[in-house]
């Protein structure tokens, strides 16, 4: 890459960071009370919430990791990325109930909803907070680590300078404007991802001539080898990569279909955005906007993986030393405009997901966990403590991400599935079924917490789950099973013990 292109990328990226900061700064006026600061509750229309939701869901992994997995094993990963209707499914399953809870009481966090549903059960709120924090901090550290490494390498900067520059600014505007700034900046970053996606999809068709050519190349290429800097690089192609399930085992295809679809309804970045919507009757429109945004970003990831397969199979570029380079290989081949938009998309994806999980984790530490432990603070004090917590967590996360590569990778085990294992018992089951009892949900959450940590240790020891099924499927199923079975035999916060207002929400 020429130095001119590097300067252009720096200029483009700085512009995006600056605009994000200005949006965050301007949003601080709206963060006037606890509900707006912590939850952005009932403040936004469907376009803003839709873009924000998509941007927070589509992390750097969606833009970099997914094309790499498509390059490595074909269409298996596309089952994950083509889950655009998952937002509608989430809103069907839990949308109006989550939003309706914001009418019942002052809702500023998922912990508040848990309080209302389960009659201020401290244990549920505490364990929910701990499991969500585990998932949130894992997401946050991995976004910082991946984005910082990329930009430090690209620009030749010290990683600490790059990390503190990008994510320091992010921490600053997040601390100032809370979730209001989070939603607004994420909407802007989501727009950047969509625009970059459209440009790169166009570039894919320009370089390949369409999907039939990719299919032919992948089906016929066999084994491609090349020597680069003395290293022999090999890519083995198989026609299986291009069928519905790709080249990975069937159990992985199963998991990568149903976990992202169902998991969308259990992600905090989706649930918290539901109560940020001003009018719940706009949720069908929100579903459309989020679905269309995801439609483009999912297709973007698919075409980047396909583009890399085509270029390598055709012999236009050598096989990739690292599958995660797939999107960069395509961008480098296309030229400067593609490079600009690809780096902007990665920056946008990292920043949006990082800011979402920074606010979530600092809200948990400064608000949900203390109240679960019986500490209640007045609103403005809560906001000030949360601002300080955001600074502290943001700074620690940056230092941790830059100094503890292995620990970040280990922590990266937690993520989508971990968050599902906590939210399904409390919200998906709890807000749809009056018989879900506090004892049942507490038991389900305890199982989720214990099994998440146990699975982390088992994974480290090389343990393989039956059928090669990813560990989190087993954990989520166990948490749901325990929640329902224990609820059948217990009565706390169930049926007649439910707050009549929450009863009305479940009936809505």
């Amino acid at each position: 890459m020429s130095s001119g292109v590097r300067y252009l990328i720096v200029f483009f990226s700085l512009g995006m960071i600056l605009v994000s900061f200005l949006i965050g700064w301007s949003a601080k006026k709206k963060a006037s009370d606890v509900q707006s600061f912590f939850g952005g509750t009932a403040l936004f229309g469907p376009v803003t919430v839709g873009l924000s939701t998509v941007a927070a869901v589509a992390s750097a992994f969606a833009v970099v990791g997914v094309p790499g997995l498509v390059y490595g094993a074909g269409n298996t990963m596309n089952l994950w990325m083509l889950s655009s209707c998952a937002f509608a499914m989430a809103y069907f399953a839990v949308g109006k109930k989550i939003r309706a809870m914001a009418e019942v009481g002052p809702i500023a966090s998922l912990g508040d909803i848990s309080d209302l549903r389960f009659n201020n059960h401290r244990g549920i709120k505490a364990i929910l907070s701990i499991v969500l924090f585990m998932g949130a901090i894992a997401y946050l550290a991995s976004q910082i680590s991946a984005c910082t490494a990329l930009f430090a390498h690209l620009l030749g900067w010290n990683p600490y300078v790059a990390g503190f520059f990008i994510f320091g600014i992010l921490t600053l505007y997040t601390a100032i404007s809370g979730e209001v700034g989070g939603v607004m900046t994420q909407a802007f970053q989501g727009l950047i991802m969509v625009v970059a996606g459209i440009i790169m999809i166009g570039a894919f068709f320009m370089i390949t001539g369409g999907f039939a050519n990719v299919l032919e190349v992948v089906s016929k290429a066999g084994t491609v080898t090349a020597t680069v800097d003395g290293q022999e690089l090999v890519k083995q192609f198989t026609p299986k990569a291009m069928d519905a399930w790709g080249a990975m085992p069937g159990a992985i295809a199963l998991t990568w279909m149903f976990i992202p679809i169902l998991g969308t309804m259990g992600q905090p970045q989706v649930l918290t955005r539901i109560y940020a919507l001003k009018d719940p009757r706009d949720m069908p429109k929100l579903s459309l906007y989020a679905g269309l945004g995801h439609f483009i970003i999912g297709f973007f990831a698919l075409t980047m993986g396909y583009g890399a397969l085509y270029l390598v199979g055709k012999g236009l570029i050598p096989p990739l030393a690292n599958n995660d380079n797939a999107i960069f290989a395509v961008a480098d081949y296309v030229g400067v405009v593609a490079q600009l938009f690809v780096y902007a998309a990665i920056l946008a994806a990292s920043m949006s997901t990082a800011s979402m999980f920074l606010t979530l984790s600092s809200n948990i530490i400064s608000r949900d966990l203390p109240t679960a432990l019986g500490l209640k603070l007045e609103g403005s004090k809560q906001m000030n403590i949360s601002r300080a917590t955001t600074f502290i967590i943001g700074s620690i996360a940056i230092i941790f991400a830059l100094t503890s590569g292995e620990a970040v990778a280990i922590l990266g085990t937690f993520g989508w599935g971990t968050l599902m294992s906590a939210t399904f018992p409390v919200f998906i089951i709890g807000l749809a079924w009056k018989k879900a009892s506090s004892q049942g949900v507490m038991a389900g959450l305890t199982v989720a917490l214990v099994l998440n940590i146990t699975s982390l240790l088992l994974n480290r020891s090389g343990f393989s789950w039956p059928g090669g099924l990813p560990w989190y499927v087993n954990v989520i199923t166990a948490a749901i099973l325990v929640t329902v079975v224990v609820s059948l035999f217990t009565k706390g916060a169930a049926d007649e013990e439910i707050d009549p207002r929450v009863d009305a929400v479940i009936d809505l």
Partner: protein, 150 residues
């Protein structure tokens, strides 16, 4: 269609589906698990979309059941052509895709949006009517008033 009396059964079916899908993965019956997971998703949506224990028939037929049938058909077609062209280049394509993957593109991806996303938009009143929302808000105001008086 009233589901109020059957909510316990639906939740038990949801739980059974989660367990069965997981066991399908364990024992190598992943394709069965794939199709069963559609039933699992359908049950979650039926439970969540009902208003006062009643799920609108319109909503049930389109988008919900239409979506479920479309996805299961898409998976069956995907599996059929996956086996038919195993280890070889397919003899034809659909929009340039492997015929097996084209079923995923058309039914799973585009079809999912055309049924669930557009269906929610088209039948938004069946999902949450203005009347139901206004009644709910009024009821919450009353209950909040009662709580304040107590």
């Amino acid at each position: 269609m009233e589901i109020k009396k059957h909510k316990n059964l639906i939740v038990l079916l949801i739980t059974a589906c989660w367990v069965a899908v997981t066991l399908s993965g364990w024992y190598g019956h992943w394709f069965f698990g794939l199709c069963l997971s559609v039933v699992l998703m359908l049950l979650h949506m039926v439970l969540g979309a009902a208003q006062n224990g009643i799920i609108s028939k319109k909503l049930l037929i389109y988008p919900l059941l239409s979506w479920a049938v479309l996805w299961i058909l898409g998976f069956i077609v995907g599996e059929y052509y996956s086996k038919a062209f195993l280890g070889q280049m397919p003899s034809f394509t659909v929009f340039g895709f492997h015929p097996s993957f084209s079923a995923i593109i058309l039914a799973y991806w585009v079809g999912g949006v055309l049924t669930l996303t557009l269906g929610l938009l088209y039948y938004s009143k069946e999902w949450l009517s203005d009347e139901a929302w206004d009644t709910f808000k009024k009821r919450i105001a009353e209950l909040n008033g009662e709580q304040a008086n107590n």
